[in-house]
């Protein structure tokens, strides 16, 4: 019903003013992030429980992961958080070029992360370590090792899904931003997308040591 262009520049009909809309959107994203913490939290809880129940098997299985690639990906993701923060800063300053440039850089870094993740997945597939599709691991405790890889793929897959969604959001921001929809006065979508992107990065900061590093000596 609302005339979209004007509404998004000023504020939507249910709000009194742009300030209230900004506060509501930001709080909404924070509540959503808390909800996401519980999503990942349930799975991380399962992972931690099984790690405690089968410590040796999980340690051995985790050594099948490629720490170098994990480390590279961690670096890429932290850098992307920086570029995202700079994009938000550009939007707040009303500097469209800076915002778009950093958004693009963030997307490139995000895509690089997914590319490396895809390479890791393909490698695991060729080694027969993907439960349900190609699991031919024949070492001792094959079932418990499968448990590790099930949770590895569930956690990193769920994280990668969030990255894909994040890339979609950034792409939309870029398209809308290039048309000049954001200004010094109105940049809420950039900011709350930034919150989302940082959250996804932070999840990885937890996953990397849990999955890759814990068995390292």
């Amino acid at each position: 019903m609302s005339n979209h262009a004007a509404a998004s520049l000023a504020h939507q009909h249910q709000f009194d003013d742009a300030e209230q809309q900004y506060e509501a959107s930001t709080l909404g994203m924070w509540v959503f992030i808390v909800n996401e913490v519980m999503f990942f939290g349930a799975m991380i809880c399962a992972y931690v429980v099984y790690r405690v129940v089968h410590p040796g098997v999980f340690e051995h299985a985790s050594q099948q992961l490629n720490i170098t690639l994990g480390l590279v990906n961690t670096t890429i993701l932290i850098t992307s958080s920086l570029t995202m923060a700079l994009a938000v800063h550009g939007a707040q300053q009303g500097k469209r070029g800076q915002m778009l440039g950093y958004l693009l850089l963030t997307m490139v870094l995000g895509a690089a992360f997914l590319g490396i993740k895809g390479f890791e997945y393909a490698h695991k597939y060729s080694e027969g370590l993907v439960p349900g599709l190609n699991f031919t691991y024949t070492g001792p405790h094959a079932d418990e090792s499968q448990l590790f890889f099930s949770l590895y793929f569930a956690l990193t897959g769920f994280h990668a899904l969030h990255m894909v969604i994040g890339l979609g959001i950034l792409g939309a921001l870029f398209a809308v931003g290039a048309r000049g929809m954001f200004s010094r006065d109105y940049h809420t979508p950039v900011e709350i997308s930034g919150l989302y992107w940082h959250f996804v990065d932070i999840v990885w900061i937890f996953l990397f040591p849990l999955l890759y590093l814990l068995g390292l000596h």
């Binding site: 509501a24 909404g28 509540v31 999503f39 349930a42 429980v49 099984y50 349900g132 499968q146 569930a154």
Partner: protein, 540 residues
């Protein structure tokens, strides 16, 4: 655009199908939910009728064991996930939360519409699972039966529940942001109606709990599809972990059902006693206390899983603690009734019936929170009776009471009060006749989920089935007189009950934007003492 003579309200603003299916008006979305939830209620009731008919006789002569297992499973799934959890928040909450706090709409109207579509898609998946063979795991999906052994449609049902979870999450998110950021000037936290407090607490549970069940059923789905062993002990997994994750949500889910109902009851009791509610801030805070405690008592569902005796003791003590805020509410309602100018319009009769059922349900909860007693009655009809008293007696009577209270506001029509009062009493009688014998049955040792039982239990089962018939009549009556009221009902005034609250300052039904001007709140909720006793617009 057309018919400029009649003043526009949210119902008459536009008549096209498209204007309903693409609406972002919280009031219309509430009506969409009302229709879809009522359909699910009828479906769930039909399953219940099947169960009760089968249990008329000690032998399984109506359904096979497989069919019976599917009946009680689908009854549980439909009623819990598709009726009880969304009922009050999605219908009454959606309609009333923005109006009660003086807002024009929820913070995110499009997300609100999205949540309805998600609900419908999730329900469709579950229907698909039913039509194509049903599910026999029980609504609790205990593994490894659900993930490994059962050959029924667990995966499709799990997908349905996973999807529906997002509907609940989005509703909760919307309420939290709306209540935080969109209250009218002057409406401080401790001036908010208790209905809003209850929905705030409920929303916290929805946002914090629902993701856990969503991911848990997703893991069960993955385990079925890819033959993993996440919850399968033969493969290193742990079925007890499933129970922990399941009850971490599903116990608080009881409070998703009951807290909004408590909010409704607070509104009804104070309105029809013509008194400010006794101990307002205690009732408000007790909602948050129940929501918080609800998250740390899940282990009382697992007393017999072999958890350590100390774990059991701690969960037992914590479970007792839930009785404290629940009792705060009940005593405060009673104190509000004391020396009030009571009147017994239909919503009040529902509220009083609620008090009876909730008290029985709550007190028997203490039996189950006690370790020794729980082991004796674990997985018997005692448990079935207890949670029906709480979840059905509590949640449905609150829902029906609220629906009767705000029906004039929602539809602009009055219903016949006499028959509505009668229906409430029929529900109360039918309910007690159905479920009270089940306490006795459970104490005597009749296990739940069986469709064979020893002959000695037949008399009580016949009583229970007879009660279910009466209960059915009580449930069907409102459907008839509500629909009747839409066509023949008297036009409702803005405030038929002489109640306080911003929702009664708008016309019935409210206009699309709720308020011509943003209202300013200058006094506490429920200042009935300052109001003259109104001349009641008695119905029809």
């Amino acid at each position: 655009m057309d018919a400029p003579e009649t003043p526009k309200n949210y119902l008459t603003a536009d008549y096209s199908i498209k204007s309903w299916l693409l609406t972002v008006d919280h009031k219309r979305i509430a009506v969409l939910y009302l229709v879809s939830i009522t359909a699910m209620f009828l479906l769930g009731s039909a399953f219940a009728a099947g169960i009760r008919l089968e249990l008329l006789t000690p032998r399984g002569d109506l359904f096979t064991s497989d069919t019976y297992n599917k009946l009680f499973t689908m009854h549980g799934i439909v009623m819990v996930f598709f009726f009880l959890i969304p009922s009050i928040p999605a219908v009454l909450g959606n309609f009333l939360v923005p109006i009660m706090i003086g807002a024009r709409d929820l913070a995110f109207p499009k997300i609100n519409l999205l949540s309805w579509y998600i609900y419908v898609i999730g329900a469709t998946f579950a229907m698909f699972a039913m039509i194509t063979g049903g599910v026999d795991t029980g609504w609790t999906f205990y593994t490894p039966y659900s993930s490994w052994v059962s050959h029924t449609n667990v995966t499709a049902t799990a997908i349905g529940i996973f999807i529906t979870g997002f509907s609940s999450i989005l509703t909760g998110l919307n309420f939290i942001v709306t209540i935080h950021r969109m209250r009218a000037p002057g409406l401080t936290w401790f001036r908010m109606p208790l209905f809003i407090w209850a929905h705030y607490a409920t929303s916290l549970v929805m946002v914090l709990g629902t993701p856990v069940i969503a991911i848990t059923v997703a893991l069960v789905g993955l385990e079925r599809i890819f033959h993993l062993g996440i919850f399968n002990p033969q493969m290193g997994g742990d079925p007890i972990l499933f129970q922990h994750l399941f009850w971490f949500y599903s116990h608080p889910a009881v409070y998703i059902m009951i807290l909004p109902s408590m909010g409704v009851i607070s509104e009804l009791i104070t309105c029809f006693s013509r008194k400010s509610i006794f101990g307002y801030s205690f009732v408000a805070i007790s909602s948050l206390a129940i929501a918080f405690l609800g998250f740390i008592v899940w282990g009382h569902h697992m007393f017999t899983t072999g958890q350590s005796v100390y774990t059991g003791m701690i969960f037992s003590i914590l479970s007792f603690a839930v009785a404290i805020p629940s009792a705060v509410k009940t005593f405060n309602w009673t104190a509000t009734l004391y020396r009030g100018s009571l009147s017994f319009e239909a919503p009040m009769v529902y509220a009083l019936c609620y008090l009876g059922l909730f008290t029985i349900g709550g007190l028997t909860g203490l039996f189950l929170a006690t370790l020794g007693t729980d082991v004796h009655v674990h997985d018997t009809y005692f448990v079935v009776a207890h949670f029906h008293y709480i979840m059905v007696g509590g949640a449905i009577l609150g829902y029906l009471g609220g629906l009767h209270f705000w029906w004039p506001k929602i539809t602009g029509k009055m219903y016949p009060d006499g028959i509505a009062r009668t229906a409430a009493i029929i529900v109360f009688i039918g309910f007690n006749l159905t479920f009270f014998p089940q306490f006795v049955l459970g104490y005597m040792g009749m296990p739940r989920r069986y469709h064979f039982y020893v002959d000695e239990f037949q008399v009580l089962n016949v009583l229970s089935t007879a009660g279910a018939g009466i209960l059915g009549v009580g449930y069907l009556l409102p459907m008839f007189y509500f629909v009747w009221s839409l066509i023949y009902g008297k036009k409702a005034p803005a405030n038929p009950w002489g109640a306080t609250g911003l929702e009664w300052t708008t016309p019935s039904p409210p206009p699309t934007d709720n308020f011509a001007q943003t209202p300013v709140v200058t006094e506490d909720a429920y200042s009935y003492e300052n109001l003259p006793v109104p001349t009641r617009a008695s119905a029809v």
